[in-house]
Every structure is written in structure tokens, then in C-alpha cells.
């Protein structure tokens, strides 16, 4: 489903070149639950951004659902992000002036989906994430855990095939953190491919597959718990 072949990502900083990703080869199957660990600066976020088509590899090939992402133009990339990819960020990234429900429906709004269908989908996802009574609250009226669940609802409203979470529990306390993880895992149970970048050993231990990255390379790829 996701296939990375000899992916390099270089950044030029002054006259130096930083190899954020250095020859990454990776196959991720449909419905996998993958955690990515590694020290700060090892390239975890860069990897996630490339998988999410927010960033482009300096060299190498990337296939998403058998499609060559490297060949896509801006329009095709945007469409692929909208349909196939869900992002969950450490800092939630909710639009402060919109309510929870309005934040959740944003991907559908951008895709031009009719309001009636949107309302129905938003209602469904709100209920499944136990946020129904928070639909009309703005982000500042929600707790951190609730905000992240709204962000997850938004990431999954288009029923994408991959959910990319970059340290989703980084800004949360222990309890809401594990609630968020449980939510993500439940979505994975229902078939979504889940990729979580984390510093938390406990989370990595729960995943069925775990990558270790150091200096832009994958140094270990453990399958099974």
C-alpha cells in the first residue's frame, strides 16, 4: 500500500547538506499499525511528511496505493491528501474560530461535498469518538484530549487509507494520551493504516510493527509485539 524506494531527503543549511532521510526503503501493508521511534532529529517527521505528500523526496520513488506519487502534479497531490491521508499533529492544529463540528468537516468542505452529506458524516464520527455533546464548542472550550479527538475525527472524516500521527500524545497528560491512543487503535482495528511517531516506549510496544530511526536511516524494523 505504501512503498518507499531509496528515499533521500536532503536539506541545505548554509553550505552544509543535512541528510534528513538517507536511503529509506519501506513497505507498509494495508491496515498495518506502525510506530516510528528515534532520537530527536533522526528524520521521523520528515518521513511522515513525505508519506503524507506534504514534502517531496530529493530522490527515490514513492508509491501510494500503487500510484506513483513522485509524478503527481499539485492538483493530484492535494486530491490524494484529501482522500487518502489523515494527519494528526502534536499541537492539534484546530482552527480556533470554528466549532468542533466545523473543524471536523473542513476536509469535506474543501472537497466540495454537499452540506447534508457532511452533516451526516460529522454526526457519525462525533458519536463514535464520544464528542457528540461538544459539536458546537470552539477549540478553546475543549480539553487537550478532546481537541486531539476532534483532530482525529477531522483526519478520518474522508475515510482515508492512512492515518499519520506525529507525536499525537506529546501535548497530553498520561490519561488523555492513552485515550487518544485507544481511539487511534480502534480506528486501526476497523482497517485504517496507522503510522504513529512517538517518543513513548509504551506506545511503541503496543504497535504490531516498530521502526527505529537514527540519523535519517531505519536501523531496526521489528514485526510483531
Amino acid at each position: 500500500m505504501i512503498r518507499l524506494e531509496q528515499i533521500h531527503r536532503d536539506f541545505e543549511v548554509g553550505d552544509q547538506i543535512v541528510h534528513a532521510l538517507n536511503d529509506i526503503n519501506l513497505d507498509i501493508a494495508h491496515g498495518e499499525y506502525l510506530s516510528v521511534m528515534g532520537p530527536s532529529g533522526s528524520g521521523k517527521s520528515t518521513l511522515l511528511n513525505i508519506i503524507g505528500i506534504l514534502d517531496h523526496a530529493t530522490s527515490g520513488r514513492y508509491f501510494l496505493n500503487e500510484q506513483n506519487v513522485t509524478d503527481m502534479d499539485e492538483l493530484a497531490e492535494s486530491r490524494a491528501r484529501n482522500r487518502h491521508i489523515g494527519f494528526v499533529f502534536q499541537s492539534f492544529h484546530l482552527v480556533p474560530r470554528l466549532t468542533a463540528a466545523q473543524n471536523i468537516e473542513l476536509p469535506l468542505v474543501l472537497a466540495g461535498i454537499a452540506p447534508a452529506l457532511r452533516r451526516q458524516k460529522v454526526q457519525q464520527v462525533l458519536e463514535s469518538l464520544s464528542l457528540a455533546d461538544r459539536a458546537h464548542h470552539t477549540p478553546d472550550q475543549l480539553s487537550g484530549g478532546q481537541r486531539q479527538r476532534v483532530a482525529i475525527a477531522r483526519a478520518t472524516i474522508t475515510e482515508p487509507s492512512v492515518l499519520l500521527a506525529d507525536e499525537p500524545t506529546g501535548n497530553l497528560d498520561q490519561k488523555s494520551g492513552s485515550e487518544v491512543i485507544v481511539t487511534l487503535e480502534a480506528l486501526n482495528q476497523r482497517g485504517i493504516t496507522l503510522i504513529v511517531v512517538t517518543h513513548d516506549k509504551n506506545i511503541a510496544d503496543r504497535s504490531l510493527r516498530s521502526l527505529q530511526m537514527v540519523d535519517g536511516r531505519v536501523v531496526s524494523d521489528r514485526h510483531g509485539r
Partner: protein
């Protein structure tokens, strides 16, 4: 994205900063109302002046001595041309299309009557004057159709001269002195009021030949010819030209049609209206700069949000139109407020100063609103493009 959602999204961004948005709109509103007020006054004055001019009808043609270049100096001012004579006017009367022909000489003189004196404008002219200029009489009659070269000493007084010299008593048949000569009053002109600041009622009319003598002139100041309606103007002009060239041997006179006069007048007035609108446009420019500023601030404030919606699948074009939309909403609503304000103030000015003619044409209103929207687009384009071109990864890192 659906139009409704587009409006809702841009609207929410504007509403979330009420004061800031209000002030930005105010900038445009002030500019638009300045343009509307100034052009309303410009256009009002324009119409007022044109109506003052056309009250004499549009089939009036003026012949003046000397050949003038377009709007330039009279070459005849150097004194080589033959003057327009009473005989010229008589000859013009015989043209088939001529309805009324009057020669005119104008000057100032002391008028004495009923033991009072007044310095006033004296017109030397002919029998057809009231017809040519549609100026009716209040009482009595105008100068009779005497022998143009030896007219009797009769005079017609303007209503103001009549009131000043004779008060309520009837001057018809009474004797007055004009520039020292004795005349008998035969009529009183109906009150006409002022035209472009010239009081048409503070006048006295005497026969042309006597006027020439009084002011010691050899030629007429102008001959006015009213032609029959329906005759093509070109034919009239060439007819007059042919006749006078035959009489004078060359074209040492100038023919001005009412339409030419209106054209010249109109183009001068257009320039005034335009200049006045340009002054208003400066304040619009300031309003536009306000939009650029506020949109630039909005883009940097919402950098993370831009990264986010890119991550959710927004295309660059969508980001561009969202921010452009915001700029246009600001300018369009500012524009509408400015139109209402400007129109209101223009009307109020007219109420407070009734002498100030005010007119707000609909085309100007629509043009002003279109300008406001265009300013929004122009002002929004730089910040919106910056937003659209942001690297989503970088943008998302912005907190």
C-alpha cells in the same frame, strides 16, 4: 469548494476580527464616499451649467468676427478682418433656413429715468431678439421691426432695471436717458434670473444701430441665428459661411454652433469631474493600502492554519481565492458603506447649501463599487499569493 462554504469561511475570518475588519472597511468607505461626494458635486455642477446653456435652445448659431483657431486666440485681434455689419445680419436674414437673426452689441451705460439713475448692461439688438433667445416679455412689446439703419429711439427694460427706476409704476411710454440719449420705453422683459452669474434682468435693450453709435463701434460683437428645426446643422453652417465669405472676400469670422459650445463646455466640465474624482481616488488608494496591510498581517497570523488546510487537501488555488475573497469582502462591504455614506452626505450638503447642485448618477455608483472590488482584488493579490505559495511543512511548524 461550494460557494456557500467559501462565503462562510471568508466571513468567519473577517468576523473573528471585528474591530480590525471594521477599520479596514472604513478606510475603503471613506475613499468611496469621497469619490461619490466629489463626483456628485462635479456632476451636479456639470448638469447645472449645461442646462443654463441649453435654455436658449440648440438650433442657435453664433457668428463672431475674427477667425479663431480651436479654443485659441483670435487672429482677428490684430485688426485686419472686416467687422460684422448690420448689413451682414440683414443678408443672413434672407437665408431660407433662418428663423430669427439678431446682431448684438453690448456695453455698459448710465440709465436715467423717473429721476433715478442706474449703471447697467445695454444690449443693442434687433426685433427678433426675444425669439432667438426665447426670452418673453412681461409687458408691452420688444423693439419694432424698424429700418435697421435708422431705427427710432425706443428701449425695452429688464425687470430689475424697471423695478429699480420705476418701482411699481408702469414705465411704458415714459422717457428715459441711456448714455445721455433720450429713449421711450416700449416694453418690459419677463424676469429671467441669472445665467452663470450674469443678471439678465439688469439690462436695457436698444436698437442695434443706436447701440453701435453709443459705444462708438464699427462692428457687431456677434450675430445670432436661430434656424428652423429639422434643417441639418451642416447645411446651416455651410450656408452661413458661403454667404459671409462672398460678402467679406474671405473667412474672417467664426461660426460656433450650440453643439460645439456644449461640446467644449462638456469636455471642460468632464475634466473637472475627473480631476475631482482623482482627488477622491487618492483616499481610495490609502484604503487599498490598508487592505494590503491587514491581509499581510492575516496571512502571517494564520500561517499554521494555511499549512493545516493544505494538509487537509486544499489546493494552492483554493488558498489564493480564500484570501483574495477576504480582501474583496472587506473592500466590497467598505464600498457599499461608502456609497451609502457618500450619497447621504451629498444629499445633506444639497439640503444645507441649496445653491450647490448635486447629482449622483447610477453609473457612477456602480463604477465606484466596481472600483472598490477591483481595489480589494489588487490589494489582496500579493498577500494571497504569498499564502498560496507557503511550504505546507514550514507553515505547519509556525506556532
Amino acid at each position: 469548494m461550494l460557494a456557500k462554504d467559501f462565503i462562510r469561511l471568508t466571513g468567519s475570518a473577517i468576523i473573528s476580527h471585528k474591530l480590525r475588519s471594521f477599520l479596514t472597511m472604513l478606510g475603503i468607505a471613506v475613499g468611496i464616499s469621497a469619490v461619490v461626494i466629489l463626483t456628485s458635486i462635479g456632476e451636479g455642477v456639470h448638469r447645472f451649467i449645461l442646462s443654463e446653456f441649453t435654455q436658449f435652445g440648440t438650433t442657435l448659431i453664433k457668428v463672431s468676427p475674427g477667425k479663431t483657431q480651436t479654443m485659441g486666440m483670435s487672429i482677428g485681434a490684430f485688426g485686419t478682418e472686416r467687422p460684422l455689419s448690420i448689413d451682414d445680419a440683414e443678408a443672413l436674414k434672407r437665408l431660407s433656413f433662418a428663423k430669427s437673426v439678431v446682431g448684438i452689441i453690448q456695453g455698459n451705460a448710465e440709465v436715467e429715468g423717473n429721476r433715478r439713475t442706474r449703471r447697467t448692461t445695454v444690449f443693442g439688438t434687433g426685433h427678433d431678439f426675444p425669439n432667438a433667445f426665447s426670452m418673453p416679455l412681461q409687458r408691452g412689446q420688444f423693439l419694432p421691426d424698424d429700418d435697421p439703419l435708422a431705427p427710432r429711439a425706443l428701449a425695452v427694460v429688464g425687470s430689475k432695471v424697471k423695478a429699480e427706476l420705476f418701482g411699481d409704476s408702469n414705465p411704458i411710454g415714459r422717457r428715459i436717458r441711456i448714455g445721455g440719449d433720450r429713449y421711450r420705453v416700449v416694453g418690459i422683459m419677463a424676469s429671467k434670473g441669472q445665467v452663470l452669474g450674469f443678471d439678465l434682468d439688469d439690462t436695457v435693450y436698444i436698437p442695434l444701430a443706436r447701440g453701435l453709435e453709443m459705444f462708438n463701434r464699427v462692428g457687431l460683437m456677434e450675430i445670432d441665428l436661430l434656424y428652423h428645426e429639422g434643417v441639418p446643422e451642416d447645411r446651416v453652417v455651410s450656408g452661413i459661411r458661403r454667404l459671409l465669405v462672398t460678402r467679406h472676400g474671405r473667412e474672417d469670422f467664426t461660426i460656433t454652433t450650440q453643439r460645439q459650445m456644449l461640446d467644449v463646455m462638456g469636455s471642460i466640465l468632464d475634466i473637472i469631474t475627473f480631476a475631482v474624482a482623482a482627488i477622491g481616488a487618492i483616499s481610495l488608494l490609502v484604503g487599498g493600502i490598508g487592505i494590503v496591510t491587514i491581509m499581510t498581517i492575516a496571512v502571517s497570523e494564520r500561517t499554521a492554519e494555511i499549512g493545516l488546510i493544505r494538509a487537509l487537501g486544499a489546493r494552492q488555488a483554493q488558498i489564493l481565492s480564500l484570501f483574495l475573497g477576504e480582501a474583496v469582502v472587506l473592500s466590497a462591504f467598505g464600498g457599499i458603506a461608502g456609497l451609502i455614506g457618500g450619497f447621504g452626505i451629498a444629499q445633506l450638503l444639497h439640503l444645507l447649501i441649496p445653491a450647490l447642485p448635486v447629482h449622483t448618477p447610477w453609473t457612477y455608483v456602480l463604477l465606484a463599487e466596481a472600483t472598490a472590488i477591483a481595489i480589494g482584488l489588487a490589494a489582496g493579490v500579493i498577500p494571497a499569493r504569498r499564502a498560496a505559495r507557503l511550504d505546507p511543512v514550514e507553515a505547519l511548524r509556525d506556532e
